[in-house]
């Protein structure tokens, strides 16, 4: 009779491509793992693994079985998560994925809130691009994502939390006559500096400015917003900053900040989880905290803009 152990071992082999390493990872001896795999192959009547000199290679059937096994193992883990949640909400670790244009700003505000409200909760945070996050969410490596919506995927459910406006960051001292209008002309003198490919903020900024063409856009591709802000501060161009980043990135008047004309462009920040996840209540509770943290991050933006306008009026 098929057992979970066999599926666990197969999954380990699929991941490591090596009987010995897989066995170590499963905390059993290599023969134990080998025998279970043989048993599995015999029960299924199909060869799953090609034993080669340089390790183990899955056959076509093996890959398909491993894919299904992984799915099953995820669902088994979900049962455990569900039980833990219903026994004691928000105590099991949450593996949270966050996009790079959110993480450095929101996490410092979020973690104290979490510690205060759910002292037992452990947040394991991973920061990478949307596409990578989604892949890891689906394969069960992550439990929850904090990113920019919308996200369309049949196996994923989302909940939007809060809007995060875009502001224009200019070299310091640049004058503004009221709100900025987002047009390509804006970037005739100053190049638009953007993050490297893969960041959703890059695409959003291009959309906001009605730029399809990469003209006047620096494809140099920085990998963090603070790098870009450095460049802006040195007069190398302009960029769009999300409101949550202003407090950190525009402090001390390093760059000038301008608001866009209504309707102000914005991104929607929200959560995403596997549709089958048993911890939706946990996630909803966390969502409340995250929204609060985001609001905290956005607060300095208003001050900075007001402050700057006051200074301009004085000159």
């Amino acid at each position: 009779m098929l057992s979970l152990k066999q599926l666990r071992y197969l999954d380990a082999i699929a991941r490591h491509g090596h009987f010995g390493k897989a066995a170590t990872h499963c905390a059993v001896s290599q023969p134990a793992l080998s025998m279970q795999i043989q048993e599995l192959e015999q029960e299924l009547g199909v060869q799953l693994i090609e034993r080669r000199r340089q390790g183990a290679q899955l056959t076509a059937a093996g890959r398909e079985v491993a894919r299904r096994a992984q799915r099953i193992l995820n669902e088994v883990r979900d049962i455990g998560d569900f039980a833990r949640q219903s026994a004691a909400p928000l105590t099991a670790p949450v593996r949270l994925g966050v996009i790079p244009t959110v993480a450095p700003y929101v996490l410092p505000a979020l973690l104290p809130l979490v510690r205060a409200d759910y002292p037992l909760l452990v947040l394991q945070v991973r920061e990478t691009h949307t596409q990578q996050l989604l892949a890891e969410l689906i394969d069960g490596t992550l439990d929850l994502l904090l990113l920019a919506l919308p996200v369309e995927h049949p196996e994923i459910e989302t909940q939007s939390l809060i809007e995060d406006r875009f502001l224009l960051a200019m070299p310091p001292g640049r004058k503004l006559r009221g709100r900025v209008r987002a047009t390509p002309e804006l970037f005739e003198h100053d190049r638009l500096l953007l993050l490297e490919e893969g960041h959703c903020l890059r695409e959003q900024a291009l959309a906001v400015c009605n730029l399809r063409q990469i003209e006047g856009v620096d494809t140099f591709g920085a990998s963090s917003l603070s790098t870009i802000v450095q460049m802006v501060a040195n007069g190398m161009g302009m960029t769009l900053l999300p409101e949550i980043s202003i407090g950190l990135e525009a402090r001390g008047g390093r760059v000038g900040i301008g608001r866009f004309a209504d309707p102000e462009p914005a991104r929607t920040l929200g959560l995403a989880w596997r549709a089958t996840s048993p911890r939706k209540e946990d996630f909803a509770a966390l969502g409340g905290l995250i929204a609060a943290a985001v609001r905290k991050c956005q607060k300095p933006a208003a001050d900075i803009v007001a402050d700057q306008r006051a200074r301009e009026r004085r000159t």
Copy 2:
């Protein structure tokens, strides 16, 4: 560590509501099952079952865990099915669900074809209404459905096979001037006789005749087409028959058959299976045979219509 055995036992209890019966069903002793369940409850840290005088009752958490367990067990079975398919196509038994307005006509034609082409294949056929079939498909009791499309469900995939036209069945001797037009007036003298609620053919027939109201429609509700044909033969009204049924139901001139004006109304017969099913290739192969069987069933219809027209011209 969670095991499949525990999930199997829990599933059995969920089905039988009784430790002893569940144990019998799993072919183990009652203590063995009890102990595994206790183990499971301890691992999950949640009580899953209320032990009551009159048997076992799942707690709320128990129901949720059982639901997930059932899903997992289905997917495990799918792995076995997949392996068997890739080892030898179309040899593992197929549990096929068929709607009542198809089964008695198509199966007699289908089974010989199956025996000829796939002598090792065992078809386990179940006949009931669409809704019931869909429920059993999803919970894994059935593998494949033969029914009238469309079927909309996120977990189900379908493939249409063939069109099956509707014909008008009248008391014998009734004259027709060419093709019939499907209007409510058609049923001013003769009532429209239909199957009982739940048959998709009932809804389709009402739609074909542009009848929303149940006026002039006999809600008496027969449970089989041949009953209705009996009634039609005795002058109690008219009905719509699918083309595949004509050979059996209208043989010997028991009832008059009329074709509808173009565009002739028809239903689409097709297959449905779980989107996760590993046996799609099997099903596609079976689909070919089923389409052939349906075509065979439809053949007599043309002859009977032609024959009848010839007789009318003679009188």
